[in-house]
């Protein structure tokens, strides 16, 4: 079980040695401890080769100990939970963890694709833009598939993600990103002032660099200071500490995106729990204490496994008690790198040599070297001798030209530190260059945000604590919190003397962006070819576009570009920093909104009743609507729908039309208001009457239609189409509040208040008599066509009756308060038994409206005018209304417009299809004779054939003309006749009868 953790140090570290964990890497069983990352466990097990690079498939090891890692990427987990490109350096070890290396075949050790290295002389930056052009068709067939297979690192699962995600909101005065010394100091200071604080830490342990570097704060060992600080924060009610949480994006108005890896440290999330949670943090202030990232120096062989960032190496030694190497050399250009040598010595590791690019090394370090018995070489590393099994020998070119060689199995590199300027630059601000630390630092930040500590270029421990404290107090004060912050924690500021060194000339490939295999000579090539702008450099070489987002490569890349183009680094400038700061799972952004929960669902008052009846439902916007009600033995939808239509036309049926938008329009000016939003008049509508109304957009095109009834002098009940309900409400509110504020009118949506049913068919009155109170007069005289009023139902329930007809039959719409809707349908069914009452769905509704030539969604398509729909006469000339003027533009009143017309195949057996185009008979279809298309079709039980409506050039002037329905998509072409769009009861006798 324990395996051999050959490189595990005997003591120390923040790992729990009492909790051993076993895991598998490329099928091999290894072991580590609770508190390890996958990377630290691999280090402890002496694994050097972890991955293969993107283009040349070069062997790669572990370069860093954090989310900036370019090389140690694995496929974590397996099956549906497989996660490609997972950084071993941030993946927490858990019992049974499975990981596999990527981008190699057949194995990591023996990767056939490594032959690419033979073509390396050809495969330079952008080589593919210059070739693969001939012959043209070879690209999709041969070149591209090959390139795609070679590229792409890890493999996605390829089956649905089984885990759940959710999202949440959090609000605070001060959000702090990072829990290093600056972050902890900031959070503590703000919290002591009384602020509501959220502290986000990417890692699963708080402390940041303190965990790897230690130090003394307020006279205490760093670990003790951290513990004391956390205890104090934990005791404060308005402080939320979020570990495993990365603040990744800065958005407008003090909104920050953060990703919490709730259960990624477990094999699978516990029941009822999510894998990850997306946080939208709303903060008055945000303090970026995200620290700095140590940067490499570019030299030949700098990608050899065993070459590691100096700070990462001491993190493995100090935090994880894992030795990346037994005999370590250090290549540094600054004081900080030496701390790795101290750590190595303290851990009993051998130090082979220190190669320091700076002319003068401090006496303290010289004596350290003396005691440790290792040479200090003034010069730089020019090459590394080694391979997939790691570093063997290091060639050094000494200042003055001499050469030296150093035997070592590990090389720590420190080229200085780059403040993490990502977050502060998310609003496209560019950082500024500071010569003293040879790095970019934030130059201002988005509103409410400030950087503190190393993220702000303050590298000393004392300075980090000071800046964090001050930022915390300032933020709390600005948020109106006046408590006492106490005093800032005290620590020394270590020396940080650095002599910039970016690139060491030498034989062999020297990598700038290790993951994307971008070398120093690629950068030079880009410059040679005119890709000198950093954005061009990035796009041409793909520098900084890998999964590490250039955290270790960008600055080195532009430094080299600056050198070859003879500019300074600040002149060369940086690329734009964009969210997210670390890659975030797409599933987390989606949260719970997937599968059936993608969008909310709206149910009609009769939904559950309809479900009992076995109705087939259709999605209409967010609604589920009964499409038809199949009966046992019916062979297909057409049979059911035809039966429903016949039942209505010969007897009586009912249909839930509650999905229509319903709006109460109140107030003394309600009529005047409606006159302005409809093309026809409503102020003249008598109380107790309904009228069909048409609305235009201001550009003169038809927007929506529906019937509106006047229930009282100052009260209209307006209906909209199902599709436009919300939009029409918004439009009317705009008219009320913005366009016509002088009118005294009030609007309320009552869509959900009323269950509304259409009752249609010659026997409608018979059925209604059964449920409506006998005192109510439903005769043609007592309740004429387009009448609308409140009635009493048997059993003393108030309802509204509207004598309107979509089907063309004698019909009423009845509405009752929604909670009575289900009772109403059941009662209709009971009362209607003698008349064979039949529930019908949206399909039958559609059939009957087409038979009657009523226009609907397919005709109201956002480009048609009232005249196109045959409703031009409704446009009042006596009043102004929305859309009146623009509706008169020449092209909108042109004689050759496509207008609504009836269409039926000359062959009655022929099925007509929507989307078929109309071309003149005898002509070859082409752009110039494409005269329109079929908008709506149905099988008409009345006419016993397929019929439809269409928008056809001068259609109504061509009634009787035989034209071609041209439908190449479905391989059909046939004769159709243009006819009156009202196929059924053209004089409307039935609905008035």
């Amino acid at each position: 079980m324990r395996g051999n953790q050959a490189n595990r140090l005997a003591a120390g570290g923040l790992i729990d040695r009492s909790t051993p964990l076993s895991f598998r890497f490329d099928g091999k069983t290894l072991s580590g401890f609770q508190g390890d990352t996958l990377a630290s466990a691999l280090v402890a097990n002496g694994v050097k080769l972890v991955g293969r690079s993107f283009k040349y498939h070069r062997p790669r090891g572990i370069l860093t100990a954090g989310s900036e890692e370019p090389n140690a990427l694995v496929e974590l987990r397996s099956g549906a939970r497989r996660e490609p490109n997972t950084k071993a350096t941030t993946a927490e070890l858990y019992e049974g963890l499975e990981a596999a290396s990527q981008n190699r075949w057949p194995s990591l050790d023996f990767d056939v694709m490594a032959v690419n290295r033979l073509f390396a002389p050809i495969f330079v930056a952008g080589f593919y833009y210059k070739t693969f052009m001939w012959p043209a068709k070879f690209w999709e067939a041969i070149y591209e598939p090959a390139i795609r297979r070679a590229a792409g690192l890890g493999r996605a699962a390829g089956i649905p993600d089984p885990d759940r995600y959710d999202k949440a909101w959090a609000h605070c005065d001060v959000a702090v990103a990072g829990s290093g010394p600056a972050g902890l100091a900031a959070a503590l200071a703000a919290a002591r002032c009384g602020a509501r604080v959220i502290l986000c830490e990417e890692d699963f342990v708080l402390g940041g660099r303190l965990l790897g570097d230690g130090g003394t704060i307020d006279g205490l060992p760093a670990a003790e200071w951290i513990a004391r600080t956390l205890d104090e924060l934990a005791a404060m009610p308005d402080v939320r500490i979020m570990t495993r949480t990365t603040l990744f994006g800065v958005y407008d108005g003090g909104t920050y995106g953060a990703i919490e890896r709730v259960n990624d440290h477990l094999p699978v999330p516990p029941e009822h729990q999510v894998r990850q949670r997306l946080w939208r943090i709303v903060a008055k202030h945000c303090i970026v204490a995200a620290g700095a990232i140590e940067r490499p120096i570019v030299f030949a062989g700098n990608d050899t496994p065993g070459v590691m960032m100096a700070s990462a190496m001491r993190s493995y030694i100090n935090r994880y008690a894992a030795a990346p190497a037994r005999r370590i050399a250090l290549f540094t250009n600054n004081e900080d790198g030496w701390r790795t040598v101290e750590a190595a010595i303290a851990a009993g590791l051998q130090v082979a040599a220190v190669i320091d690019g700076r002319p003068d090394v401090s006496p303290a370090h010289r004596s350290l070297a003396g005691k440790g018995g290792f040479p200090v070489l003034n010069g730089s590393v020019s090459g590394v001798d080694g391979g997939k099994n790691g570093v063997r020998k290091i060639s050094v070119s000494l200042t003055g030209g001499a050469r030296a060689e150093v035997e070592a199995d590990g090389l720590a590199v420190s080229g200085g530190w780059n403040p993490a300027v990502g977050l502060t630059s998310h609003h496209r601000g560019r950082p500024k260059w500071r010569d003293d630390i040879a790095a970019f630092v934030p130059d201002g930040a988005p509103p409410g945000m400030v950087a503190a500590g190393a993220a702000n270029g303050a590298f000393g421990l004392g300075a980090c604590l000071r800046e964090g404290f001050e930022a915390g107090v300032a933020a709390a004060r600005d948020a109106g919190r006046s408590g006492s912050p106490g005093s800032a924690a005290i620590a020394d500021d270590e020396a940080f003397s650095l002599t910039p060194l970016w690139h060491v000339a030498g034989k062999g490939k020297a990598f700038v962006d290790q993951q994307h295999d971008v070398t120093a000579s690629d950068v030079e090539l880009a410059q040679r070819e005119g890709f000198e702008s950093v954005e061009h450099l990035k796009r041409y070489t793909t520098l900084g576009m890998a999964t590490d987002q250039g955290k270790t490569s960008n600055v080195a890349g532009l430094a080299i570009m600056a050198a070859v183009s003879g500019k300074s680094i600040p002149e060369t400038g940086t690329t734009i920093y964009r969210p997210p700061y670390v890659p975030v799972a797409i599933g987390a952004f989606a949260g719970p909104h997937r599968d059936e929960n993608f969008h909310a669902t709206r149910l009609t008052p009769s939904h559950h009743w309809a479900a009992e009846q076995g109705a087939v439902f259709v999605d209409t916007g967010l609604w589920k609507r009964a499409q038809w009600y199949p009966l046992p033995g019916e062979k297909d939808w057409l049979e059911s729908v035809t039966r429903e239509v016949k039942a209505v036309r010969s007897g009586v049926g009912f249909c839930d039309v509650s999905t229509l938008g319903k709006i109460d329009v109140h107030g003394p000016d309600a009529g005047a208001f409606l006159d302005r939003v409809y093309i026809n008049a409503f102020s003249s509508l008598a109380v107790g009457k309904a009228r069909y109304g048409l609305m235009l957009r201001e550009d003169g095109v038809v927007y929506d239609d529906g019937t509106t009834s006047r229930l009282a002098e100052d009260h209209y009940f307006l209906t909209t189409t199902t599709a436009k309900a919300g939009l029409v409400m918004q439009h009317l509110e705009f008219c009320r509040q913005v366009l016509f504020p002088e009118l005294d009118v009030q609007l309320t949506s009552v869509s959900d208040q009323w269950a509304q049913f259409s009752i249609a068919g010659p026997k409608t009155r018979d059925l209604l008599k059964e449920i409506v109170d006998p005192a109510e007069d439903l005769s043609n005289e007592g309740f004429p066509f387009m009448g609308a009023r409140e009635v009493k139902l048997r059993g003393d329930l108030k309802a509204r009756l509207f004598r309107i007809s979509f089907s063309g039959e004698m019909a009423f719409e009845i509405s009752v308060p929604a909670r009575y809707g289900e009772a109403l349908v059941r009662n209709l069914l009971i009362a209607g038994k003698p008349f064979g009452v039949t529930p019908y769905g949206t399909e039958a509704l559609g059939v009957m409206r087409i038979e009657k030539g009523h226009v609907a969604g397919p005709e109201l398509n956002g480009t048609t005018t009232a005249a196109d729909l045959g409703l031009g006469k409704m446009m009042s000339t006596k009043k102004d209304f929305i859309g009146r003027v623009m509706a008169g533009r020449e092209a909108l009143v042109a004689p050759n417009r496509q207008v609504v017309v009836g269409i039926k195949p000359t062959d009655k057996a022929r099925r007509l299809r929507s989307g078929a185009h109309i071309v003149p008979k005898g002509e070859t279809p082409g752009p110039d004779n494409d005269q329109g298309y079929v908008t709506s079709v149905c099988f008409s039980p009345v006419l016993d054939q397929w019929i439809g409506l269409g928008l056809v050039e001068r259609g109504r002037a061509r009634i009787g003309e035989i034209v071609r329905a041209h439908d190449p998509l479905r391989g059909e072409e046939y004769d159709v006749e243009l006819c009156n769009s009202v196929f059924y009861d053209p004089d409307g006798g039935r609905q008035r009868g």
Partner: protein, 208 residues
């Protein structure tokens, strides 16, 4: 011909399964639907805001809320629902349209919403944590004390949210009026959000 029975069905009648849901152990969230209530939207007419407020004061003893808050009176709760408008929430049969029409005659337009909404009450020591998943409103007691109301959205759907009187055990109570046709959908959304904390589900016929 016999009269019909006009029974009512709450929008949540089928979705709501009383009892426990989600994680076992001490339930962190309790969800209760209140079924029998009257709800009337009152919208002051042009220039009649003050008179409407006064009319409410005359009838209920307190002025109608003019800012986002919910005011409890002896026989109703007045909940702000937008500029110049508020909702009158009362026990079933309490404040019907007819009654209120007399109170606000000529001053305000009334619209019955009794059947347009479902009323859900959320409490428990994880209530706020759970609501943070579905609501963007800051419910910290400092920002959202008892009596605060908000016209806001959940899952892109309009809701009226207000903080009622604390439970006997001192825990906060958040009330939600959601649109009836969305009620089942939002109910399931809330159950999913609450599942990890354990949920107690109940309904009560009457407004507390």
């Amino acid at each position: 011909m016999a009269d019909f029975s006009w029974y009512i069905r709450s929008p949540l009648e089928r979705a709501l399964v009383a009892g426990r849901y989600g994680a076992p152990g001490e339930a962190g969230v309790s969800l209760t639907e209140i079924r029998n209530f009257d709800l009337v939207q009152v919208m002051a007419r042009r220039g009649k805001a003050a008179e409407t407020v006064n009319a409410a004061k005359a009838r209920f003893g307190v002025g109608a809320p003019e800012t986002p808050e919910a005011v409890d009176t002896t026989d109703a709760t007045l909940i702000w629902s937008g500029p110049d408008q508020f909702l009158v929430l009362s026990r079933g049969g309490g404040q019907r349209m007819e009654t209120l029409a007399r109170v606000f005659a000529g001053l305000a337009s009334l619209s019955d919403q009794s059947h347009a909404r479902a009323l859900i009450s959320v409490s428990g020591d994880k209530a706020r944590t759970m609501l943070a998943k579905v609501s963007s409103i800051d419910l910290h007691p400092e920002m959202f004390p008892v009596g605060t109301a908000a016209a806001t959205s959940i899952d892109h759907t309009s809701v009226t949210l207000w903080r009622g009187k604390n439970r006997q055990d001192g825990q906060a109570v958040f009330n939600l009026l959601v649109f009836a046709t969305f009620a089942e959908s939002l109910w399931h959304t809330m159950l999913d959000s609450a599942a990890e904390y354990g949920v107690t589900i109940a309904h009560s016929e009457e407004l507390a």
